[in-house]
Symmetry: C2
Subunit: 553 residues, 2 copies
């Protein structure tokens, strides 16, 4: 037996993480009351509980932010705590980057940096920040259990009891996953809460996973990101929505799906009870959703289209509506929504027929990106849901419908749809010869170009011109022809030989609205089941309570 072991005298410790944790907890004895950190002592406590070089995972995604803790972290003395390695789903708030300016933090691994993307790119250029990697959400969560195991987790919940049990209510989001990674690896878990209660409506995260609770000076930040005011939906978006309903959802029998936050998809949601109903599609398509509680889905729910919705997070103002529609949503015993970003991303990857999204740029091969020069926006959830999951083995009618080969080993495909107008506002073409992402890669020293969705995964591209059925093309040449045919007067579109249009239509590689029996003149906002937020409130029987910025009455 070959045995390479250390000598008895220098016996290796296997509890260094636990010992460090105990020491840290010991060091705040005078500051805390049991597990409770008094609100005014949070900065002091953090200076003792967090050590230089720590890996700190901080809750904050596109909606919910541990804002009290991030503000406190930005106030700690960089002489005491510095060089932190931050892990954050989203870099959303100014103090997230102040951490780096001040030298408290040094390196960051993240998924999305929309609101701070410009400043972030600048700081990277100025050497004030070390880039880790950019991820899709669950890829980042996965690394928390492999090679980015956190020493500290800073999370947010609505309420806690004195045993540390957390109630996250509708916004459970990523809290349980971040806590699990730290709590079960002898990390320190600090949760900010809006309120301390004797008894919780339900427990979302068990108290034995939490080390410290602090009552925040104000409720955590919550962004109503998935609220789209129907007033801003245009006739062109109505046309595209009709095209998608007929030419994709009906054609392929799409029963389960995810929608993003665009006006395009809001238009689809609002056409189901009108245009969809007129086609006799109720009960046949769009039954199961991986989706945040979109207000624009309310008319479809009220009209009986929707069997189930599982949510990544909550949506401000939708609390009472969701609680009153518990046959449709996942709710706890208290009646309020239970969301779960990890599980919903997993379901959105593996268990739905279709992902539909939009983008700022599409190249001739169908690759798309939302990064533009000087901005490091990152990805969020789109790469996860907008690709064909190679591990999927179950079939559905829509998935099988993507099979174009007679090979005995052929299998289906997830539908990945890009809906764009050929030009963005400001006359910027969406179809481009080369993605800005390639320049961003060079400028930022990234290992790969930040592509949101790869062309290989895209099955359909929809524009105001029509649909390109990319999944049916059997060569790169045909694929490009189909894309050009719907790319309007962009440079990609101008490559189209209009003599080929008829052939592409005949082969079913593209469809124009008229091929789908859609008259362009019918595509009017008047078709929307609700044309304003006020009308959505009416559909909801007053249960939906929109944030004031969406109210005009």
């Amino acid at each position: 037996m070959v045995m390479i072991k250390q000598a008895e005298g220098q016996k290796k410790s296997w509890t260094t993480r636990l010992d460090a944790k105990k020491k840290r907890i010991e060091s705040v004895k005078g500051l805390v009351e049991g597990i409770l950190i008094p609100t005014e002592h949070i900065v002091d406590a953090m200076e003792k509980l967090i050590r230089p070089g720590d890996r700190v995972v901080m809750e904050g995604n596109n909606q919910k932010q541990a804002s009290f803790l991030s503000e406190a972290l930005a106030q700690i003395n960089p002489k005491k705590v510095h060089d932190l390695h931050m892990i954050m789903s989203s870099i959303s708030r100014p103090e997230h980057l102040d951490l780096f300016e001040k030298g408290i933090a040094k390196k960051v691994d993240f998924a999305y940096a929309g609101p701070q993307s410009l400043r972030m790119a600048q700081m990277l250029e100025d050497g004030k920040l070390t880039m880790g990697e950019i991820h899709t959400y669950i890829e980042l969560y996965g690394r928390l259990f492999i090679d980015l195991i956190p020493s500290v987790a800073l999370v947010a919940a609505d309420k806690a009891d004195r045993n540390g049990n957390l109630y996250t209510g509708p916004n459970t989001e990523e809290t349980p996953t971040l806590v699990e990674a730290a709590a079960f690896r002898d990390g320190i878990v600090i949760a900010q809460v809006n309120e301390l209660l004797d008894e919780l409506p339900r427990v979302d995260v068990p108290g034995s996973w939490i080390d410290f609770i602090v009552v925040a000076d104000q409720p955590y930040e919550l962004e109503p990101l998935f609220t789209r005011d129907p007033r801003h939906i245009t006739d062109i978006q109505v046309l595209q929505a009709m095209t998608v309903i007929r030419g994709i959802y009906e054609k392929h029998q799409v029963q389960s799906l995810n929608h993003g936050i665009g006006y395009n998809t809001a238009a689809i949601e609002l056409l189901l009870p009108t245009y969809g109903e007129s086609l006799g599609l109720k009960g046949k398509i769009c039954k199961h959703w991986a989706l945040n509680p979109h207000p624009t889905l309310i008319p479809a729910i009220e009209s009986g289209w929707v069997e189930s919705v599982h949510c990544f997070g909550g949506e401000v103002g939708m609390e009472k509506y969701v609680a009153a529609r518990r046959d449709v949503f996942f709710t706890g015993r208290d009646g309020s929504l239970r969301s779960n970003r990890t599980l919903c991303q997993m379901a959105g990857q593996y268990a739905v027929d279709l992902f539909i999204g939009s983008t700022l740029q599409l190249d001739h091969d169908g690759n798309s990106s939302t990064v533009t020069r000087g901005r490091l926006t990152g990805y969020g959830g789109a790469p996860n849901m907008g690709h064909n999951p190679g591990g999927r083995r179950h079939s559905t009618p829509a998935w099988l419908n993507m099979m174009t080969s007679e090979d005995p080993l052929a299998y289906g495909k997830k539908l990945v749809v890009q809906v764009v107008e050929t030009f963005q506002a400001g006359n910027k073409p969406v179809f481009v010869e080369s993605l800005d992402a390639i320049d961003v890669k060079k400028d930022s020293g990234l290992a790969i170009a930040p592509v949101m969705i790869y062309g290989d995964d895209v099955t359909h591209v929809v524009t105001e011109e029509g649909i390109a059925y990319l999944y049916k093309t059997d060569s790169m040449e045909k694929r490009r022809e189909a894309l050009s045919a719907v790319a309007g007067v962009t440079s990609v579109g101008l490559k189209h030989d209009s003599a080929k249009t008829a052939e592409l239509r005949r082969e079913g590689l593209i469809a124009l609205p008229e091929d789908l029996q859609i008259r362009r003149t019918d595509a009017k906002r008047s078709l929307l089941a609700a044309k304003s937020v006020e009308e959505i409130v009416e559909w909801s029987e007053g249960l939906y309570e929109p944030p004031s910025k969406f109210k005009s009455w």
Copy 2:
């Protein structure tokens, strides 16, 4: 505003699930004591709590089984409860299929049916069972939140308290995910426990998610599936393990990985502290693992190779060892392992450099399958971890090392390795012209052939002949040449023109052991850090307590 609503008089109910749940709970009032179902009343209680046609998710994977509940379910009166739609990770126990023989259940969706695969195929042929779909684990879990939302969840835990809080100990496994799907959709959750306690060592699932607890008449079944006795490792497996360490792990700097249950991978684990050490690779490769607590990893852990291990489940006998090595494993405050099948599969998909596995058949394009005629084994976790996750955006040295294109949008790839001997025991060739899966598809009426791992995803194939570097081949022809070159004297191997071997070696498309400076004569069992279970126990300082079937002393 177009508003299609029902008339006031027939107002739709949105609480049908909650109402049904309340009624069911009401119906067992006389039988239960609060949330406690007396052991002897379990069958009676199930006959009231479960209704005909229910979707029932039952815990049971390749290791942990809710065996008391499955036995009880098989005893209920099919006149009272019938036509259940079962959702099960694994069809493992005889009563799992008795349910269908007796008419209690009708349809099944599952991930794996190894132990019952023969009987299952027969029952399907006899029309005694309706097949749903076959899944990889987290694909099935995903559907629990989309279109397979359960009405009832039957799960197993070690201990519960009187508030229903569950302690799952090292075998947390899939319990929290199955419970979450039912509990937050007004389903009924019944947990069998080995023991009822006043105070739990820790809480793994909160009590407010659980409806009923029943103390089982005996502990739930637990299979020590990941224990491989080094005595059964052959010299050929040692050779293959050396080849993998040099020709893949070292070459591509593989730092994070998953290993399956084979003797091939056990050999690799046992060579790290000997052969790996001699190559100076400690700290450079194999640092982070998504892996059950394999006893064969103990010598590598003790020698300081392993920084972290996240586990799908536990392993019988490894409890004390894991608790004593908490710097390496995920453990709770009580010191025992916290596993999580969902999170570990997610991490194993998205956050590791490499998956390595074995198979029973490989075709000329690298497609592999473990199904053989007359057996419906299903998939387990291999399709999930053994594919290139298209949503991944972060890079690591190994991942980038798979890039072979100069395209500005090129990206890396997960390493997916198949290690096989060219012939199985009984002289059955592993390399075949056509997979049996194709016949099984026809025989069973499956929508697609049950392929475990698709050739497109496979980057390396390792046999006793050498390594085929499939990721480097730029045409199907080259790919086949490389595969043939390592396929020995199987029919696929005999297609190899041995004149081409030198060219393939020169191009780096294959490597023979001698190209890796490995002498076949060095590949001896004596290189293994432990050659028996007894020696593993010795390495563990007596902390590993193997089940008696692995003991010879």
